[in-house]
């Protein structure tokens, strides 16, 4: 498995390792450019993949993205492999009526705050998050109103 030699792997070796490890969990693999690779997975596989990428491949957690698209509510976790300049994104689609996903904050502490922000602005529920409370919005923000949702109406 990957050990200290991960730091010296090239881009292709890393991607081959990821592909081999994920196997059938990959729903779609997109290589937008040499440095930008997206892999779409199912929501329940995200914690395991994150643990693999963070703990074993020793990637750096860059940021996460939440988006309310016409298809679904998407969550993307962006990991950086600084040794070869590769940005690797794990992307998953959630059901708009009940967007629930397991939090990766217990695995990677750096994801704590961005998951708080995704919850308060998009209404994505993160299970087992250690410290779920408002980050940017006021503490007395009305519950159930998520500003960055497409159907959000101010004072509605």
């Amino acid at each position: 498995m990957a050990g200290p030699e991960v730091k010296h792997m090239t881009r292709d070796e890393l991607l081959a390792l990821v592909r081999e490890r994920l196997g059938e969990k990959i729903v779609r693999w997109t290589e937008k450019s040499a440095r930008r690779v997206y892999v779409e997975v199912r929501p329940e596989d995200v914690p395991e993949i994150s643990r693999f990428v963070f703990r074993e491949l020793e990637a750096r957690f860059s940021i996460a993205t939440g988006a309310d698209t016409p298809a679904a509510i998407e969550v993307l976790y962006h990991w950086a492999f600084d040794q070869c300049g590769l940005f690797f994104t794990v992307r998953t689609k959630l059901n708009r009526d009940k967007p629930v996903i397991e939090s990766i904050a217990p695995i990677c502490k750096g994801a704590e705050w961005i998951e708080r922000e995704m919850w308060e602005l998009l209404g994505i529920t993160f299970l087992n998050h250690p410290d779920m409370r408002h980050l940017l919005l006021a503490d007395d923000w009305p519950a159930g109103k998520y500003p960055l949702r497409r159907d959000y109406v101010k004072n509605g």
């Binding site: 919005l137 006021a138 007395d140 101010k154």
Partner: protein
């Protein structure tokens, strides 16, 4: 014209307080305070501490959280203090009126003495605002 108003309008210490601004108004405020426009001829100087301030220059929009801090800073200023809302964002909310991040205009939280629309207003407009405010205080035209 009372002694207090006379002295206050001859020596104005300016303090800049920005909310969630794009910083263009802040840059224009700094431009106005450069030697090019030489506001020190009118007795206007920039101060770093809000307790030394006579004029609060408010820029940017304020949401529920930053509005509490805005009020607190206003209370910390030594009275009498004047407030100028600089830029369209501070006056009315500009294009952010429909945004979730904008709560109410600045003058619902603190009393505002002069409004300076513009996005951003030119330094000449800022000087004009101060001159008009001074004239209004002194009761002259």
């Amino acid at each position: 014209m009372s002694f207090a108003v006379n002295m206050l309008t001859r020596s104005l210490n300016v303090f800049h307080l920005g909310g969630s601004a794009c910083n263009n108004c802040d840059i224009e405020i700094i431009d106005t305070l450069t030697p090019c426009y030489d506001l020190e001829r009118f007795g206007i100087t920039l101060v770093g501490s809000v307790r030394h301030a006579d004029v609060l220059l408010i820029t940017g929009i304020f949401n529920k959280k930053s509005a509490i801090r805005l009020k607190r800073v206003y209370q910390q200023a030594a009275k009498p203090v004047l407030v100028i809302a600089i830029g369209a964002c501070a006056c009315t909310g500009n294009m952010f009126q429909k945004s979730y991040n904008w709560d109410v205009p600045v003058d619902k939280y603190i009393p505002v003495d002069a409004y300076l629309p513009g996005c951003p207003p030119k330094p000449e407009a800022m000087i004009m605002a101060v001159v008009k405010l001074v004239k209004k205080l002194r009761g002259t035209k």
